[in-house]
């Protein structure tokens, strides 16, 4: 079996991670959007963070958005 690693952040550490990435304020003030569907990102619906074009981007919980994210990662 080949081991694959998946980076993950637990709910308990989510705010700390967002603060360290300097994007917590953007989410708190509801100025962040899902990169794929444009939905407003909140602490409730954020499912993933990823880098794109030197920016921290976000993905919501919509399965299509998550799939697009995986596609992007593997492109």
């Amino acid at each position: 079996m080949i081991r694959r690693n998946m980076k993950a952040v637990h709910d308990d550490d989510l705010i700390a991670l967002l603060k360290s990435l300097q994007c917590f304020d953007v989410i708190e003030t509801k100025r962040a959007q899902c990169h794929f569907c444009g939905k407003t990102i909140t602490l409730n619906n954020i499912e993933a963070v990823f880098p794109k074009d030197s920016e921290v981007c976000f993905c919501c919980g919509h399965i299509h958005c998550y799939e697009e994210l995986i596609k992007l990662k593997n492109a």
């Binding site: 308990d12 550490d13 998550y66």
Partner: protein, 353 residues
């Protein structure tokens, strides 16, 4: 007898037994690793109140155990399809520049009593990253999505969870387009007949080797779709239908043989007729023949494969894939035998093997 002697006596009895127990435990851990993770997760769940580390270990072990369990079940249908063990690496904080430079996704894992969403995300990432990685660029977008979702659903079922209900209600019913659902219906029928993993994905996997990084084009994706439809026609045929069992495309060249009772030949015709058909297949340029046997005929399928391998000039090897044939509410033990009928050194199957 004094105290020291009693302890000495107990030790001399326990010691050999202790090694046996230890050997058994090590064997169980190596053979049933997935269950070790799942049991550990269930145990740790009792102590989630103790702190964040315990909560993380509960989630990580649960996901790893389920993914391993599902992967092993899939491997029984076809080895090497998704031979991955998925490990969660926890991130607490990250330097912004390092994050931007590393180009890696960080997925959220929820601290919920219901681990379903966490598991679905893990399986989605697992499938989309690992399934037919070299060939997926050649598939039509809808066919690729339907294939991924079908495998995801299959793994959710294997993982022994109720996640498949969540998937059906929240993904399949709400988020999947009609076109993709239609294809998923075809793939479901193909899977019920044991041809999804063993034939369709097997042939898609070979495309990567055959095409060797050629640029994707419409002709390739069209042929892949036509092949899917060909298998669906076989899967959905009624008794007595004269369904085409041979597909000769530019890239995919396959013959399906149904062992006994239905299809081309009955058992009375004997193995020689199968060999004749398979040798003729080679003349058509077929490179893989699949023989199917169901129920009491599974042994017949194996015997035919043995006979053909021994007597045919073109068959150099075969692989057996056991599976469950689903017909309505009935599940019947079945077997698919993949015959590799080219003896060329450049054969795809040798490269993949």
């Amino acid at each position: 007898m004094n105290e020291a002697n009693i302890f000495e006596l107990i030790g001399s009895v326990v010691k050999p037994g202790g090694w046996v127990v230890l050997a058994f435990v090590v064997f169980a851990i190596l053979k049933y690793t997935e269950n070790v993770f799942l049991i550990a997760s269930k145990f740790q769940k009792l102590f989630v109140w103790a702190g964040s580390n315990v909560r993380k270990k509960t989630i990580a072990n649960d996901i790893r155990g389920r993914v391993l369990k599902a992967s092993k079940r899939l491997t029984k249908e076809k080895s090497g399809l998704l031979p991955y063990d998925l490990k969660i690496v926890w991130v607490k904080d990250e330097d912004r520049q390092t994050f931007l430079d590393n180009n890696e996704i960080i997925v959220r894992m929820r601290n919920s009593a219901d681990p379903t969403v966490n598991y679905i995300h893990a399986i989605t990432e697992y499938v989309k990253s690992g399934l037919i990685p070299g060939s997926k660029k050649y598939l039509d977008e809808n066919l690729l999505l339907a294939t991924n979702l079908s495998v995801i659903r299959k793994l959710l079922l294997f993982g022994g969870t109720t996640a498949v209900n969540y998937f059906d209600e929240n993904v399949y019913n709400k988020e999947v387009s009609r076109d993709v659902r239609s294809i998923m219906g075809m793939l479901r029928s193909i899977d019920d007949n044991g041809m999804f993993i063993q034939v369709l994905l097997n042939e898609f996997e070979k495309l990567a080797v055959k095409l060797n990084d050629v640029l994707p084009c419409q002709e390739i994706s069209k042929e892949a779709f036509e092949f899917t439809r060909f298998l669906f026609n076989i899967a959905s045929r009624k008794k007595g239908d004269k369904t085409k069992l041979r597909f000769v495309g530019n890239l995919i060249k396959v013959n399906i043989c149904l062992a006994v009772g239905e299809g081309y030949y009955s058992w009375n015709d004997g193995n020689a007729k199968y060999r004749e058909d398979i040798d003729n297949s080679y003349r058509y340029g077929i490179d893989t023949v699949y023989i199917y046997g169901m129920g009491s005929k599974t042994d017949a399928a194996r015997e035919i494969a043995d006979y053909v391998k021994e007597h045919s000039d073109f068959v150099f090897d075969y692989t057996i894939y056991p599976h469950m044939h689903i017909s309505g509410l009935r599940k019947i033990n079945a077997v698919c035998v993949e015959l590799l009928i080219t003896s060329s050194e450049n054969s795809v199957s040798k490269k993949l093997g």
